[in-house]
Symmetry: C2
DNA sequence: GAGTGCATCTCGCTC
DNA sequence: GAGCGAGGTGCACTC
């Protein structure tokens, strides 16, 4: 990893290092006392304060305050970053087209500027999604109940896509609505709409909310509309768990 | 702003600087070749690669790859960060309670480590939200149409909160559903549910979708259910625009 | 490119 | 602390 770092840079040095980082498609990090204005999908302004600024080679741009996970201001990937100097003050500008969005940052003082050329070919492997639940239940439908037979995944209706459609051991149409986290009333409403869509055709339609948990309100609503709940936790199995384990412990 | 920065630190130096930064409640930045494992709400693993790591004094923890706006791995505010060294290899650990979440990062090589004490008392001022639209339309109801009189904001129904409830010049109950961005079918569905809730009582109920735009599908659905659309852009007025303008140009 | 829905969403609000 | 809804959501996916 090639990198450059400069403490207490002059405005000119700040400008040069940022330009170099942009040209070389590096990650650029700044600690600066700055203020910012944004206009685009919304409009915002941020008064003077000390923050960290991160610019990525894909055009992503972030201003991080000393709290919160989210940046206080940002531009998405594919934005175009520029740096200017005017009356000895450095301005950072990031522009996005479609939708048109502008972020202008004034760097009153920069304490630390650095850029690093970063190589990274690894993608994150993640599990525990709703999709993982779907695959698992498709393979092991008896996790829902004995005799359940799934027939469709992502079945299209006018109210949206039904996660899993199938029949129970008595042949009754059964609709599964999956949630990877505790389900609230909105999940029950969604399930109810699917069930009502089908009830127009047939009378015996079961609706089952499948999730690791359910809120009290949601359970009440399930009872009210004679819908069901099945506790299922999303599976958390990583494909090549061994490999990373080795990375970690060897 | 007090800060420390070290190029190509030894594992011991990395450890010391991070610990110092944690103790002083600083923002900590690392450029490292690392791998990571996460387990909590989901589970994930990330193979070896060069990344930037940011730890904030509020416990926020991020691993940033060289692309995307979002961190590839993270922990939310109030997480607890620790650094350990084992066989000359540095491990970062961030733990969150409730829900229980663990992030473990192995730093194979660190290129740059720094921490900065950051002072920042400014909050972001932002406008252009749905709320701003609501306030504007409450003050200037004729923006909807001549003779419209709003009666309630955030009116509670069993299907949720109606943004603005009122009566038109003919005295007909009128429901406004506000969106600050282009509205899709889901917005129309929501509006339709409100209207149907009220139609049980009265027959003449108008539903108006108020947004800067509407998708084709949504417009079709509006026509189908005899709902209306009113083009209104969210207002973008900042309270103390002058102040930041001065910050910028003086 | 637009539209739809999930997310370790985050965040602020209310109860 | 739990639940609910908005967001400059971001992001992947489909059409």
């Amino acid at each position: 990893m090639k990198f450059i770092s400069k403490n207490n840079p002059t405005p000119q040095e700040t400008c040069e290092i940022i330009n170099e980082g942009l040209r070389k498609k590096a990650m650029i990090t700044l600690y600066s006392c700055c203020c910012a204005k944004y206009n685009g999908r919304a409009k915002s302004q941020l008064g003077l304060g000390e923050r960290m600024i991160l610019i990525k080679p894909d055009g992503s741009f972030m201003i991080h305050q000393n709290h919160k996970l989210d940046p206080v201001n940002w531009q998405p990937p594919k934005s175009h970053s520029k740096v200017k100097i005017k009356d000895d003050i450095v301005f950072l500008e990031s522009v996005r087209r479609s939708p048109e969005e502008h972020l202008l940052v004034k760097l009153n003082t920069t304490y630390l500027v650095s850029y690093c050329l970063v190589r990274d070919s690894e993608d994150l492997e993640v599990t525990g999604h709703e999709k993982d639940m779907g695959k698992m239940l498709w393979k092991h439908p008896n996790m829902i109940e004995n005799g359940f037979r799934p027939t469709n995944m992502e079945y299209a209706t006018e109210s949206g896509f039904i996660d899993i459609l199938g029949k129970d051991k008595n042949g009754f149409l059964t609709i599964l609505e999956l949630k990877s986290r505790k389900a609230g009333v909105s999940a029950v409403k969604q399930l109810l709409r699917y069930v009502n869509d089908f009830k127009e055709d047939k009378s015996h339609v079961r609706g089952i909310l499948v999730a690791p948990g359910v809120t009290d309100d949601a359970q009440e609503m399930l009872d009210k509309y004679e819908l069901e709940f099945k506790m299922v936790k999303p599976p958390k199995e990583l494909k090549i768990d061994k490999k990373v384990t080795l990375d970690f412990f060897l």
